[in-house]
Symmetry: C2
Subunit: 272 residues, 2 copies
């Protein structure tokens, strides 16, 4: 949202501005997942809502190369929500948390007019430094994992009253945790693509321009909630990262090269 930058400005300090805040060996991150902003109730099952709420949160930890371990769960529950629905929602959160080795250690439940899932994730850096959004340098290659556009495509289908499969990236983002774990040491900077490439690319290379090697469609530029990794690597480490991608069966795209100049803006993602 537009007002977000104003709010960030009020609280500005050295911890703020990355996917997570680093306190010693700990990385802390938080994402809210709210009905009518991120999803409508009919679009995803209760389980899928819980699952996506957890995945988008874990994505921040992955992008920093931190291992998520604990979570605090804030739940806003409309009073007309049935117990069976709440149970499924919580199962989606719990199942996904357990899959990634995360324990829900506390939280709060309140009445609210819309389903509100507020997760805080406590992650740990594992014998390595965090990968932040800063660090890109002239000559670095800008890469991203997987394919872009699927999330916005799914959203558009849903907005037009259509149905999407449970494999649609809008329903089930794919985390690149294994690839990140093995490639982080070669990365100069990284983040997850949550607001869309157009919004997120300037966050890692605002001081430079990118010479594009790849044609990116408008759909790919604007699609948010992709949760693919966007990162920079120096040319002499490219082969190593490509090998890791192959080993982890992750598609690797070279978006372009960092050159002198200023990045153009390509549009801004907003939730529906």
């Amino acid at each position: 949202m537009d007002k977000e930058q104003n709010i960030i400005d009020i609280f500005t300090n050295k911890f703020i501005g990355d996917d997570g805040a680093v306190i010693g060996k700990m990385v802390l991150s938080k994402d809210m997942f709210v009905e009518n902003t991120h999803f409508k109730r009919g679009w995803l099952s209760a389980f899928e809502i819980g699952q996506k709420a957890m995945l988008v949160n874990l994505s921040d930890a992955v992008a920093m190369n931190a291992a998520p371990r604990f979570a605090l769960l804030g739940l806003g529950i409309p009073s007309n929500l049935k117990n069976s629905y709440i149970l499924e929602l919580c199962k989606g959160i719990k199942h996904t948390a357990e899959k990634y080795g995360v324990k829900i250690i506390g939280g709060d439940t309140v009445k609210s007019s819309e389903i509100t899932i507020s997760l805080s994730i406590i992650s740990y850096l594992q014998n390595t430094k965090e990968v932040s959004r800063n660090g890109a340098a002239l000559g670095d290659l800008v890469c991203y994992t997987g394919s872009l556009g699927g999330s916005l495509k799914g959203l558009k289908t849903l907005l037009n009253g259509g149905h999407i499969s449970s494999k649609s990236k809008f329903k089930t983002p794919i985390l690149r945790d294994k690839f990140m774990k093995h490639s982080a040491k070669f990365m100069k900077c990284a983040m997850d693509i949550s607001d869309g490439l157009a919004s997120d690319l300037p966050k890692i290379c605002s001081k430079f321009r990118v010479k594009f090697y790849k044609n990116i469609s408008k759909l790919q530029w604007l699609s948010g909630e992709e949760y693919e990794l966007l990162f920079c690597v120096s040319p002499h480490n490219l082969k190593r990262v490509q090998n890791e991608a192959k080993r982890c069966r992750v598609k690797l795209n070279i978006l372009g090269k960092i050159i002198k100049g200023k990045q153009k803006t390509h549009g801004k993602f907003t939730h529906f």
Copy 2:
């Protein structure tokens, strides 16, 4: 809310069930503060909303005898909210955080239909063990700080269209952090009174009965969001705790004594 216990049951583990979760020397806690559940927009100024959201969160850390240091802030903002209002709200959060030595290190801002403030607090135990809700034993004295009833009285006035002063406990809870810091070593167990004495007393002495030394009115029993400390102390440490209370200028009440038997339930607090 009634559904809260069902949700807690799904996630049950050793970390859950206290004011905060203890991970090594760290205590993690989370409280949500939501429009139309905890407050109406006209009742509190934007600054006061931010202030109370932070205070009720810090209260959990105080009750565990942990020093709050960092916070993650999740903000749900209705689209019709003016920038000046959001600024005041954030100032209330920031001012209160700074007063208690807490830094906002990250978070998330989203659009929502109601003002939603979701805070996660990271606190640290200072050369001492946490004070949990467990530990009461036969013969212990059950005590609480301050006066009860003011919060519900304020809420009732507001519900009847009246006005309350900024000193009303409904607007500005009083944290007993200094008293807690000096008295924690004498306490067998402690918690903050957030759901009302009637709901909260059984949480620290569910296995026992309390022989009451003090008459408690219905208003005092049911008033939630008091954020006074409820704790147990062995009789031979009472004088020490009383001395600390005197030194910190905190009123100390001896509610009763823990005896054999089962506690009766005195009613349940719900938000308005």
